[in-house]
Symmetry: C2
Subunit: 228 residues, 2 copies
């Protein structure tokens, strides 16, 4: 039985289910569903019932809300090891935000009833999930405050550094989002996002080839992010 469960070999097992017994893992495993998404696919739709605990095995996604006049506000970007359904998993019945894949992405979905049972019977697992939840919500709140206290240039610098440092781990990368999406993330207009990027390019801080960004003057960018 235990040999048949592919969760045993999952690289994310240690991260999240290290305190789960083999029996419990097998139970999770039998009910779990893995899903693949292409760029642009909805993984979670705002307003839908929360039925699964979802975590991202690979790829990159954006979390966002849509307000009455159809405008989108991006909450956060999430990469593997982030638990995209974690924010409001048990606070309410319906999702209060949507999630869309920015790259080819794979999720592992576990029925929420199973997770609930695991919480009820396994204290170590509870502790682990609480820590993860706190970490995720802390990060989202922190991010929001960081963005809010910056001006346009500071926000753009912050976002570029976020992609370079936290998401891709290198100074040159392909932007997984449009200028418009950056605008929706930092709360400014698309035109001004473009203008700031152009300014950085003209100042020799970054190079731009369409979606490709290369950070040339990393320290300078850091300085702009920190002191405007």
């Amino acid at each position: 039985m235990s040999l048949e469960c592919s969760c045993e070999a999952c690289e994310l097992k240690e991260l999240f289910f290290k305190n789960v017994s083999t029996d419990q893992l097998n139970s999770l495993c039998s009910s779990r569903i893995e899903r693949n998404y292409s760029r642009g696919d909805y993984i979670i739709e705002e307003g839908r019932y929360i039925e699964d605990f979802i975590y991202l095995k690979s790829g990159l996604v954006k979390l966002f809300v849509t307000n009455d006049n159809g405008k989108e506000q991006i909450l956060s970007f999430a990469k593997p090891f982030d638990f995209v359904s974690l924010l409001s998993l048990f606070s309410q019945k319906k999702y209060s935000y949507s999630v869309i894949a920015l790259e080819e992405s794979t999720t592992c979905n576990i029925s929420i009833a199973n997770v609930r049972n695991l919480i009820l019977e396994n204290g170590d697992f509870s502790m682990s999930i609480i820590e993860k939840m706190n970490t995720v919500s802390d990060a989202v709140i922190h991010e929001s405050l960081e963005i809010r206290r910056r001006n346009l240039r500071g926000r753009i610098a912050y976002v570029l550094l976020h992609f370079a440092d936290d998401i891709y781990g290198k100074k040159d990368f392909e932007l997984p989002v449009s200028r418009k999406e950056i605008a929706e993330y930092i709360g400014m207009t698309t035109e001004n996002v473009i203008r700031a990027l152009t300014e950085f390019r003209k100042d020799g801080i970054i190079k731009i080839y369409g979606k490709l960004i290369e950070i040339v003057a990393y320290e300078k960018l850091k300085q702009i992010s920190e002191h405007g």
Copy 2:
């Protein structure tokens, strides 16, 4: 023994410890400390080690962060039944925000080791604390997004309605914060907060007597909050 525990009679017991056995409650009770704070007192100081699980029995507090240049950003206001130390309780060792009493406030503090033990041994309690955590962080994130998508007037309207509807439950109340603190909450300058309030007064939407605010045209204020 159980008769001596004042937690048995605490009006917040049902809200948070309904799934806790009498023995467990007594254990919590013996280690708990109740603290009183006056307006302006620090309840939590950013950077301090998280040693207690803290909830607000009475009063009103503000949660805020201080950035490098000494400016404060207010995250949220919390009233009784809110769990002020809940945001990052288990995500890290130190508080990433401060909490100050805005009115006479009383907290109940329980050692974090006790709460941790309770999580490990009591699944229902775990479930309950997870729901509370999700609710608190959801609210803070939601609040932040709501504020962000409004202009100055909309933000001020939103804040006034927040105090009237969510905090005081009536249309006339004494502002528990300065104009400067409102500014720190909505991310605008003090002068512009004052100007917007004055505008609302001149338009007959509110009456102002120093800190006393009376909402005269509630629907109008609602409309400004929703559509600028």
